[in-house]
C-alpha cells in the first residue's frame, strides 16, 4: 500500500475478530498531519473497534497500525499510546464524576505522568492559565468548582473535549461528540473541532449528517469492518453502495 512516511495515522489491512465475528476486515485508513477525517457508517461497522485498536485497548489479529509514520501502536499499551500524543473522547461521555471540573482538567493536563512527579505536583501559573483558557473555550469557566456529575450531558461532552485539549495530543479520536447536544451546541462543537484540526489531526466518528457537513472534511464510510467509500461528503453520500447499506433507500 501507500508509503507510511508523512502520515499521522496509518492503518493497513487491520482485521480483528471476536468469537468468529469479524469486527474489522482488512481496514485501511490514513490520516495526515493537521487533517480532519470524518467516519460514518451503520451501527456495528467497526468504528469504535477501530478506535480501541488505535488506543491499545484491543489488539488486532492482523495488519499494521502506525502513528506518526514510525511508531507501531500494536506493541504499546493504553498509557504509552496516550503519552505519545493520542487523545480519545468516548462515545458515552466519560469524565470523573466525583471530582470537580477543574480537577478533571488538571489530571488531563499534559504533565509528567510518573507516580512521584504526580504526587509532588503543584500547579504553576502557566498550568492555571492554561486550564482557565480551556475552561473558557469549552464554556465551563462558571462551573469549574462543580462536580462533573452535576453537568448536563452536553456539558460533559464539552468537558471531555476540554480534557482532550488539555492533553495536548497530536491526534484526536472523537467518538460521537455531539450526541445529546442542542443544535447551537452542535454548531459550536463543529467550529471548535475545525479550529483544532488546523494544527492537529482529528478523527471524528459521527452519525449526525448535518454535523459532518459542517465539518467539511474528508469522509470515510465504514461498513462491516472495511471501507465502503471515501471522498467528500457529497461524493460519499451519492455513492449507490453507501445509500443502499447506510443512508437508506
Amino acid at each position: 500500500m501507500t508509503d507510511r512516511t508523512g502520515t499521522m495515522l496509518y492503518l493497513d489491512g487491520v482485521s480483528v475478530a471476536f468469537d468468529g465475528f469479524k469486527a474489522l476486515n482488512k481496514l485501511s485508513i490514513i490520516v495526515y498531519p493537521a487533517e480532519m477525517l470524518a467516519i460514518i457508517g451503520p451501527n456495528g461497522a467497526g468504528k469504535t473497534t477501530m478506535m480501541d485498536i488505535i488506543t491499545g485497548k484491543t489488539r488486532p489479529d492482523d495488519g499494521e497500525v502506525f502513528f506518526d509514520g514510525r511508531t507501531d501502536l500494536t506493541r504499546l499499551d493504553e498509557a504509552a499510546i496516550a503519552n505519545l500524543g493520542i487523545g480519545r473522547k468516548f462515545q458515552k461521555p466519560t469524565v470523573f464524576e466525583s471530582q470537580t471540573v477543574w480537577d478533571n482538567l488538571e489530571m488531563a493536563l499534559r504533565k509528567p505522568r510518573g507516580i512521584f512527579a504526580t504526587l509532588f505536583y503543584t500547579a504553576s501559573d502557566t498550568d492555571t492559565a492554561r486550564i482557565t483558557e480551556i475552561l473558557d473555550t469549552v464554556r465551563l469557566l462558571g462551573r469549574k468548582d462543580h462536580l462533573a456529575a452535576d453537568l448536563s450531558h452536553g456539558q460533559k461532552q464539552w468537558l471531555e473535549i476540554g480534557m482532550l485539549l488539555a492533553q495536548d495530543p497530536k491526534l484526536l479520536l472523537v467518538d460521537e461528540p455531539v450526541a445529546g447536544m442542542t443544535d447551537s451546541e452542535t454548531v459550536e462543537t463543529a467550529k471548535l473541532l475545525k479550529e483544532i484540526a488546523k494544527t492537529r489531526s482529528v478523527v471524528v466518528v459521527e452519525h449526525d449528517m448535518s454535523f459532518v457537513r459542517d465539518l467539511g472534511s474528508r469522509v470515510t464510510c465504514l461498513a462491516e469492518g472495511s471501507v465502503l467509500a471515501e471522498g467528500s461528503l457529497d461524493q460519499v453520500s451519492a455513492n449507490p453502495v453507501v445509500i443502499e447499506r447506510y443512508l437508506g433507500r
Binding site: A79, R88, T94, E97, S98, M107, I115, T118, L119
Partner: protein, 394 residues
Amino acid sequence: MLTQALFRALDKKAIWLVAILIAVAVLVPASNLLLPNGHPLRLPNYAVPLFGKYLTFAMLALALDLVWGYCGILSLGHGAFFAIGGYAMGMYLMRQIGNRGVYANPILPDFMVFLNWKELPWYWYGFDNFWFAMLMVMLVPALLAFVFGFLAFRSRVTGVYLSIITQAMTYALLLAFFRNDMGFGGNNGLTDFKEILGAPISADTTRAALFAASAIALALAILVCSMVVNSKLGKVMIAVRDAESRTRFLGYRVEYVKLFAFVVSAVIAGIAGALYVPQVGIINPGEFEPSNSIEVVIWTAVGGRGTIIGPIIGAILVNVGKSYFTGAFPEFWLFALGALFVVTTLFLPKGIVGLIGQYRSLTTRREQHDRSAPAAPSPAEVESSADPQPKPAE
C-alpha cells in the same frame, strides 16, 4: 517540593485530628500515671493498653481506606500486613528475652529449644537490634505488597477477583505460620515477652509510652495519608477508583498508581501491627485469619470509606462495642457485627461520616428554606434530601 506537599496535607480537618491525637497521647498516660488511685479521672491500668490497641486498629483501618476508599482496591487480606509487622516486632521482643526464657538459652527462643534446633535460622539474624527490627516492620510488608501488587495489578486483576486473591494470600500465610518448621513459633506464635528497649513490657510506664507511641504513629499516618490524597496523585487514585480504563487513556499507569497506594498502605498496616503486639503481649497465626481482615473492612465501611476520619471513628466505635458486647453478651457479638455490616451497606453507604454530612446538608438546606419561605419544608423535599445516594455495594 516536599514542604509544599506537606503544607497541602495540613487542611483544617487533618490539623484538628492530629491535634486531638497529640492531646490524647499526653492526657491518657498522664491520667493513668499522675493521678492517684481512686481519682475519678484516673484511667485504670487495664484501659491503657486496651485503648492503645484501638488506636492500632484505627491505623490499620486507615491503611485499608487508602487502598479501598480512595483507590477502589477492596483488599480482604490487609490483616496479613498487620500480622507481619507484628511478627517482626515479636521477633525483636523474643530476642530480648535472652536467657530469662524457660530453657535459659541466651540466643535461641524457647520454642526453638523445644523443637531441638541447634542454631538460629538466618532470618532471625539482626532482630536483636531494635532499629533493624523496626526497619523490617516496614520493609517486609512493603516487599510483600510490592510483589503481590505488581503481579496482580499488572495482570489487571480487579474487583471481586482481586479481593479473593488477597483473601487467599492471608489464608496461605495463616497456614504457613501455623507450621512449626517455619520458625515463627507455629500454633503458639511468639509470646512471653519480657522487655522492650530495656523497659519491662508490662510496667505501667511502658504501657503508657506504647500508648503515646500508638497515638503519635496514628497522627503521622493521618499526615501521610492526607498528603497523598490531597495531592494530584490522590485525585488520580480517585479517578482510578471511579473509571479505571478512562484513567489509562489519559496516560496514567494505573498499575503503578495502585501499587504505590498498596505499598504505602501495607507499610502503615505493618507499623500498626508492630505497635499492637507489645500492647497485647502475643502474636500468633490467628492474626492472619481471613475473618480479621474482613472485620477491618467492616470498621472502615461503618466509619465511612473515602474519608480520613471515617475509618478511625469506625475502628474505635466497633471495637469499643466489641469489648462491651463480648463481655456482656458473648454469644451476641457476631450477630451484632453481621447486622452492623448489613445495615451499613443498605442504609449508610457512606458510613457514619456520610450520615453526619447528610444531616449537615439537610439542616443548611432547611435553614435556607426557612429564610426564603417561612413555611415548613414539604415532606417530599425532606425525604428526597435525606435519601442516601444508592451506590452499588462492593
